[in-house]
Subunit: 236 residues, 2 copies
DNA sequence: CGTTCGATTGATGTCAGTCAACCCGAGTGG
DNA sequence: CCACTCGGGTTGACTGACATCAATCGAACG
C-alpha cells in the first residue's frame, strides 16, 4: 500500500525545484510549495490511477517511472506516455473538470508528490508564471503526441522502431565508449504497445538492427546504440 | 493573395465572442480585443503556414476550415487536426518560442483573425482567465490526440473508420429525418491521410458500411449516418 | 536446480497496400 | 448538344508484410 508522509525529511530539490513548472520560482516560493506537498509511494506494477477515476490533485513524479495507457478496443494497451522524474500528471482533472481518461501504472518503485486540487488552483492565481509553464509543458506534450501520430501513420514499421529507440536514447541514454547505452523502460511487449505492433514483430526488428550492427542487445533490458546516425537517417 | 483589412466592418460576434479562449470576457473586453485584430483571408487550397516557418501571432479561424498536417517519411500527409470556426493555432510559437512544426492548408475559402504575438502576451497578463482557457483548450487537444493514437494503435481498420465518422458526425453532422447528415470535410484521400490508411481502403470500408445499411453515401461529399449506434458499438 | 516469465524463432494465414482498370460527374469547348 | 478531359472515387486481382499460433530458448530468481 501507499505510504503517506510529510515532506520535512525530503530534500527540497527532489520535490519541486527540479520540476519544470516550478522552475521560475525562487527558493522561498519553492519552500512554500514543498510545505504543501503530500508524498506517496507506489510499488512496481501498482496501479496509480484508473480510467474513469478522479485524482484529487496534481501528481509530480519524484523518483521512478510510470506508463500512461488506454485499453484499446482489441483488449491491448496503447501506451501514450512514459513519465519519469519531474513529470506531472492529473492536470486534466484540474484544468478541465474531468475524470482521468487513461490508466497509470508504476513501471518501477515510484515516489510521487501530490498537490491538492484546491492548493494548486491557489498557486496558479498567486504565481501566474506557473500557468505559463503549464502551458509550455502542455504544448510540448502536444508536439510529442503529434510526432507519435506521424510515426504511427507511417506504414513502414522500421520507422516506428527507430523513432522509439531514438526517443528513449534521448531520454534515458547514457554515453558509453561504444555508443549510447540505453536502459529500456519497457519490455518488448511494452514497446509493442507503445508503437502499435506485436511483441514478436518488435523482437524481430530489433534482431535485424542487431545483425546489421546498428545496435547491440544486452540481455532483455539494455541496448547499446552503436550507430545513431543510421537510425536517424532511416526516419527522414 | 491575402486581403488585409481592419476589423471595424466585422461583426464582433464573429471574431472573438464565439472563441472559446475569450469566452470568459465581457463585451467591453471583447471589443478591445477585436480592435487589436488583423484579418486575413485564404482561398481553398492555399497554404497558410508551412513547417519550419514562424507565425507572428495567434490565428483564430473566423470562417472556413483548415487541415493541419505533417509530411511523413513516406511522402504522404499525416493530418493531425481539422480546425474550423472558433479554433485557433499558432499557440506553439507564442508559448514555446518555436517555429511551426506542421503545415496548415485551407480546405475551403477561409477567413482568419490574427492577434500579434506581443499583443497576445499582453492580453494574457492582463486577463489571466485567458491563460486558464488556453490551458483548457490544450488539454482537450491532448485528449483528442490521445484518442487518435488509441484508434491508430488498433489494428482493426473498421474501428478507425467508424471513429472518424463519429468524430465528424459530432463536429459537422446535422440531424436529418433518416439519421445524421454529414458533410465530409475531407476527400477519401484526406480521410485516409487522417487515419493512416490508403484511399482505396477507405473507399472499400465505406462501401461495406453502406451495403450493411449503416450509412448512406450521397455523391462524394455527403454521408447520412443511419445507424449511429452500430458505429458506436463497433468501437467499444 | 527448477520454475517462471519474457524473448526469440519459425511456419502459416490474413488483410491492407499496390497496381491497374474503370466509373462518374463537373467543367470545357466545339 | 455532344465529345472530351480531368479529378476523384470505386472495384478487382495480386502481393507482401505483419499478426497469429506454436515451439523453444534463456535469463532471473528463489
Amino acid at each position: 500500500m501507499n505510504n503517506i508522509c510529510n515532506c520535512q525529511n525530503c530534500h527540497n530539490d527532489l520535490c519541486a525545484k527540479n520540476v519544470f513548472i516550478f522552475s521560475s520560482l525562487n527558493n522561498k516560493e519553492i519552500e512554500k510549495i514543498v510545505s504543501l506537498i503530500i508524498r506517496k509511494t507506489y510499488l512496481k506494477g501498482e496501479l496509480i490511477a484508473i480510467e474513469g477515476s478522479n485524482l484529487d490533485g496534481l501528481i509530480i513524479i519524484n523518483k521512478g517511472k510510470v506508463k500512461v495507457y488506454k485499453n484499446t478496443y482489441e483488449g491491448k494497451e496503447q501506451i501514450l506516455y512514459i513519465f519519469s522524474e519531474g513529470d506531472f500528471f492529473g492536470e486534466k482533472s484540474l484544468i478541465i473538470n474531468q475524470e482521468i481518461t487513461y490508466n497509470i501504472e508504476a513501471l518501477e518503485d515510484t515516489s510521487v508528490c501530490m498537490i491538492k486540487k484546491e492548493t494548486f488552483k491557489t498557486l496558479l492565481k498567486e504565481y501566474p508564471e506557473i500557468s505559463f509553464k503549464v502551458m509550455e509543458e502542455l504544448c510540448m506534450r502536444l508536439e510529442n503526441l503529434e510526432n507519435i501520430i506521424k510515426s504511427m501513420g507511417a506504414k513502414n514499421v522500421e520507422v516506428r522502431i527507430n523513432s522509439v529507440l531514438l526517443e528513449f536514447a534521448e531520454k534515458y541514454g547514457k554515453t558509453h565508449d561504444e555508443g549510447i547505452l540505453l536502459e529500456l523502460p519497457l519490455s518488448r511487449e511494452g514497446i509493442a504497445n507503445y508503437i502499435g505492433l506485436t511483441r514478436e514483430t518488435v523482437s524481430r526488428k530489433i534482431s535485424n538492427l542487431q545483425s546489421e550492427g546498428i545496435i547491440e542487445v544486452i540481455g532483455n533490458k539494455k541496448i547499446i546504440i552503436r550507430n545513431k546516425d543510421a537510425l536517424k537517417k532511416s526516419i527522414e
